[in-house]
Symmetry: C2
Subunit: 351 residues, 2 copies
């Protein structure tokens, strides 16, 4: 498989393959991007021409070097997850690159600076335009491919665990899908915050990698129910939704908070014991990051940098990279995510 | 009915009836209190002897003048709501009176000061002992009977609406049971905080009184479903639990928070659309005040005084008093609460 490990990317200059070249014509009113003529499987994605996005006064235009792949991209490609109003129809919820241009009201960034950004869409492209509040600097410690895989995973983990669930040092957390991009990012942040981390994963090998990555306990959900091993946790981060929620509540301590960030378990509805919820003072929090207003995203970026900025600059916050694909092979990147064989983030290299 | 209006209490010295006298022997190792030989109806409560509670180093002994009645007292009397570990078995979750004695480590209060307190139990008695963190001063603006009906209602409303649901100025709230002690207290706080207040109540007369008390919209739940009129609310305060929760979620705006503080609707479980909860970024928060640790109660009292202390001292925070009964007629006080005919707080006068 034509993918690159992080070690390779750090050690060698990336070969300028024909895949990359396809995207890089000089900037004009059009740009190269991954276009989708109609929803479908990975094969519907192709390199094509797209309008270069207009720049608003508070926006930053980024020349994209790398973009992280997220599970939501697969849903959007299939036509199941339309972009929020006003967002680019192009896939891609996070990227890293270089500031190409800034809007008139933007004082905090200069052209040429290395940046990464949380996007409502538009990452799978030569250029993207985003509100300056969703942008932050790339520390020297991070390669472009790492930075491109950082915003969505770490800001999702941070906003849900520390802002919504208000997790504290000394508390414990159960992270479902400990081997996912968000799961590995959540593990990193929670260990830095002095929490006890329990994860679930779908194989013995993934469990072992979660432990290597810092988790205190890894539960193979194919072999055993998580409730007994996780009993008494203070926080749960759950992307499976209705299918897991009753057991999340059963496992949680008095005062526990479960944040639901996905419905991947398939079921839509769950039967909840509300009287027990009350007596146990538990919280059920539904959360999505993509559709939140720009000022809330800016507040999340700001709170993240306040809390974890030193760790980011020191390289203690760094995504686990599963694989890197050239952008023209984005279909293979999607196939790898769909296989659920990956551990950590899958990235496409755009430049 | 032998009850007193607030106007009467303010205008006239309370007659020293034979009911009051029954409780007031000089303090020794025993005290007079409402005792219950076995769970049952209002008639099981009688004035009797109880051990005078021991004083810990962080405790305050209060000579009780007045105690508020709460719905939980009725449940406890029936044997359905046991007191939390370590709490007095005597009924009564709030009181006002005078400091009789302070523990060695208590520096913030002096004997003789007028105080009110949030209790885990023990209010229906001549004396009660409580952690100093649950005690706060009675402003001159409040009569004893008003102060005795303040802590549970206002701290429940405050902690749930402003601390857990993080309600903000400009947001709207739906308060179920707008005519209850908590409902009237919640209305007062939310209007002071610059919120739009919608309430439900069970009669046209109660709806009219809720509007008089400051609610912007009152919905008679016997005549119409609340969902349509309350659509788009940001916060819901719900003491009915599973029976109302699905409709609370249907009514709430994106980002809405419902706090469940009771199960009075009868049903234990509810079917929740978790996928919609996620997409709508809604929170379901289970909450009880009584069983929370003392440090959390102290934090609630402190946050309440920070936010609303000026309003309390100025008399802008004042419970709506439905009726006042002498302590020996506590059974009638319970019967009135069970009738649900009351509007605001029911109080027993102890001294």
């Amino acid at each position: 498989m034509l993918s690159y490990s992080v070690a390779q990317l750090r050690s060698y200059p990336l070969p300028a393959t024909r895949y990359h070249m396809a995207l890089f014509s000089p900037r004009g009113n059009t740009m190269k991007a991954i276009v989708i003529d109609q929803p479908g499987g990975p094969e519907v994605m192709r390199v094509g021409d797209a309008a270069s996005p207009p720049l608003g006064p508070r926006d930053i235009r980024i020349t994209v070097h790398a973009a992280g792949i997220n599970r939501a991209d697969l849903l959007q490609r299939e036509g199941h997850y339309p972009p929020p109003a006003g967002a680019s129809p192009i896939l891609g919820l996070e990227c890293a690159g270089v500031v190409a241009e800034t809007g008139d009201e933007v004082k905090s960034f200069e052209p040429g600076e290395r940046v990464m950004a949380l996007l409502a869409g538009g990452g799978y492209a030569q250029e993207t335009v985003v509100d300056a509040g969703s942008v932050f600097r790339v520390p020297d410690a991070l390669a472009d491919t790492e930075a491109g895989a950082t915003p969505e995973a770490f800001l999702t983990a941070f906003s849900n665990i520390f802002m919504l669930a208000q997790a504290k040092s000394g508390e414990s957390i159960l992270i479902h899908g400990g081997g996912s991009g968000i799961g590995t990012a959540a593990t990193t942040l929670c260990k830095l915050a002095g929490m006890r981390v329990l994860v679930t994963a779908g194989s013995a090998e993934k469990c072992a990698r979660c432990i290597d990555h810092g988790a205190d306990v890894a539960i193979n959900y194919k072999d055993e129910d998580f409730v007994d091993k996780a009993r008494g946790v203070d926080v749960v981060l759950d992307h499976l939704g209705a299918r897991y929620l009753p057991r999340d509540l059963e496992a949680m301590a008095r005062g526990g908070r479960v944040v639901i960030i996905g419905s991947m378990g398939g079921a839509r509805t769950a039967e909840i014991d509300v009287t027990k919820l009350l007596a146990s003072r538990q919280h059920i929090i539904g959360s999505t990051l993509r559709g939140r207003p720009l000022d809330e995203k800016a507040a999340i970026v700001s709170a993240f940098l306040d809390r974890f900025g030193d760790d980011l600059r020191a390289g203690r916050i760094r995504p686990v990279i599963d694989s890197v694909f050239p952008i023209a092979r984005v279909a293979d990147a999607h196939r790898r995510m769909a296989s659920s064989e990956h551990f950590g983030k899958i990235v496409v290299k755009v430049r």
